[in-house]
Amino acid sequence: MASIEEVVPASIIGTSLARVDGPLKVSGGAMYSSDHNFPGMLYAVPVCSTIAKGTITSLDSSAAEAMPGVQAVYHRKNIGQLFRAAPPVGFSGLIDERRPPFEDDVIRYYGQYVAVVVAQTFEQAMAASAAVKVSYAGEKPDVSTTLSSDEKPKVDTTRGDADGAFASAAVKVDETYVTPVETHNPIELHASVAVWDGKGFTLYETSQAVGNHREVMAQMLGVPLENVRVISRFLGSGFGGKLWPWPHCLLAAAASRNLNRPVKLVVSRKMMFQNVGHRPLTQQRIRLGATADGMLTSLQHDSLNHTSILDDYGEGCGEATGYLYSTANLRVTSGLVRRNVGNPTAMRGPGAVPGLYALESAMDELAIKLKMDPVELRLKNEPKLDESLGIPFSSRHLKECLTVGAEKFGWSQRKAGVGAMQRDGLTLGWGVGVCSWIAARIGCEATVELKADGTARVACGTQDIGTGTYTILAQIVAEKAGIPIEKVEVVLGDTKLPAGPISGGSWVTSSVIPAVADATQKAMQTVLMAAVQGKDARFAGKKPEDLVFSGGRVQVKGGSAETSVAYAEVLRAANLGGVSGTGKSEGTFGVPPKVSQHSFGAQFVEVTWQPATARLRVNRVVTVIDAGRVLNTRAGRNQIEGAVMMGVGMAMLEHTTYDQRNGAPINSNLADYVVATHADTPQIDVTFLDYPDLSLNEYGARGIGEIGLAGIAAAITGAVYHATGVRVRELPVRIEDLLGGTARA
């Protein structure tokens, strides 16, 4: 006779699972924002400014209005009232470009929306958008890539006497590193489908944060919050670029309201370079001072990044600098420099990704000066606690990341010296960099319903942006209720659902676990109540506390398993369609931390270099990640591999160039802004250390969406130096950087 324990399925937390939304994604059935079509829907196409600085002197839409199918051309004078969003509170009310579209006639960046055409078809709207005549009084824009701050930089963190210790250090590195403007370029174009019903909006948005989106849109459109519903069932990824609303969202909604028709607006790839944010240009000076045996005595990280004319976006390059290494003397500062560019926004691993490119490059340069193995240098400067906050780490295994990675990579075979390693007629270069990323929780609510048909439904107003959130929620419910994951329906991406976390910061997984687990427990408790109430109840006469819910079944505590009853049967006996529970968890922000919660990792890279053809390729990557418990290792590994691919692009390919004369992002397409493709894929070996971090949630998960992109660029440029003798301090590494290298043909 089976005991109750034996019918409980093995834990599916930490296993390798196919995604529950996979079949929809592979069959074209997953509905992304621009897939929504409605009766009578119109198409909106914005008109973009062709100057980067100046004012609109005239706008003539008469020719466009007369074109076939055109319903309206909106601009400052006729779009109607749009408001600014109120200052944000916590994680709500956030928007990076605060000015509503068409607020004034001033142009502050190239491509700024000046009008929007609405027509019966996309083709008609496109044609008419080209027929809107706009005249400008243009001025010379400032899109210079050399940054110097007028204002005194802000000190982000400081300890000891960084200047004094640097001055007296035996070995010093003092270098400046530059990361260019990068554009997120998710393959899904930003899009809004706005449906106005006479008093409110249903907005199908490409959003990583439906709740925030709703609040901002309600404020800017001037309608009550309850009259706005935002839906983002599937997102063709965002990488941070779709965290907050952008001006096109307002254009679609306003046009829908004005015309009383559904309106679809799909941002073009070119506009994706102008109007929906980018990772800003950063310029970072790193000063390292060390003893002759490689102990860091001083660390200074002074960064500047560009921002737009009207809004402040600080990249926060020193994010990880304060706690990564042990040093008594440290100072991190940051400053903003205004340029005629669209406002920057968070891009995957904001701050840490460009910041660790600089810091880890400098560490590599220090290792070379010290004639020390770069892995050893890092091991030597491992801190015992978070020295910036003076508190212990919740779970830090960076040393193990380095040693395990070195072992898997074969680092002990490394021959120091430029061009010292050869294979098959190619020069090899090896490099290493460490990575780190903040771990946190943000407030979350979720509802779990256990249904009489034996299925469960979990609802949460968070989003799955490609990271596997649908599957994570299904896993938690399946685990808690002891039912097969196939029986769990997951509903996300809708402001009608309980408020969920933004899909940012790699925080979703850690945030949803307590809320979903709590909701499941509450639903299970209600099942136990149902099991004892009423004359037909399966356990009539018992008290709920006499029962246990385990493996999807209810039975008397300590009783024999054959008396257990499936919860579905309990519900049916009580004539209940289902019972639900709502769970809630608090965020970690705003509370002084007792432990420092961060993830860590090490990236090892091999490049191949063929001087005769100036061909450089990333050939092999070993990544070891310490990110707590990974709930679904299949999707988790994919996250790290994908981040490594983006890192190959960051290090070798990506660079948004602004024409210095007219301020246009000039390579604004996927043929001139190239991202890594299949053929660029190196051999990638990902290892998770899998130490649960129970300070965040009961499963010990920390989140892994961003960390894999940190450190990789420095590891690549370190490998490039090893192969070629060329130290690239301004990304990306380009062929022209290498043609003059020491390893000539």
Binding site: S237, F239, T677, T681
Partner: protein, 219 residues
Amino acid sequence: MADEKQKAGSAEDSGGAAGKVTRRSFLSHLGAAGVAATASPLLAAAPAAAAMPEASEAASDAKIVGSVPVSLRVNGKVLKLQVDPRATLLDTLRESAGLTGTKKGCDHGQCGACTVHVNGRRVNSCLSFAVMHEGDEITTIEGIGQPGNLHPMQAAFVEHDGYQCGYCTSGQIMSAVALLKEPCGPTDADVKELMSGNICRCGAYPNIVAAVQQVRLRS
């Protein structure tokens, strides 16, 4: 058009969000494959979605000035359409035929998200006018397989996690299925080269190649 019909394809349950419309009653011709009716991820084991009921005529949907008739064979069914000659095959599939599984990522042949098969060969549907395809046999992702009856390539993508966000996935799979019949060497490098016209910004490349190689080995 007097005979214009609309159909609700995908509807959220609130007022105003009525569903997908097509310019003609295509969906009944397309059958279940033409309709993606739910965003629920529970569909892993569910049958293909059923067509939604007919909705009323769209009074506001006036004739498109300058439009021309074209007859396309999509996923085995004939579609008689009235299209703007400027409409690409991509926009026609998505905006007129209700087949939104094919995606727009760049509209200029630089990403591969719009890949479909025309007469059995993979092409970028964004760089072709619909009117050029009179009589051509067009296959979209919806015609490759549906949940419950996935093509081996689709099943391999699920098994190998050959995606993240899923947006480029239709194009990746259309390329991968076409690749099975193309000259292609045996190695991963051969597959990578021939799949390079499909950009995956999420970087699921290793898993995509693993999925393709698994299907090639089994077939």
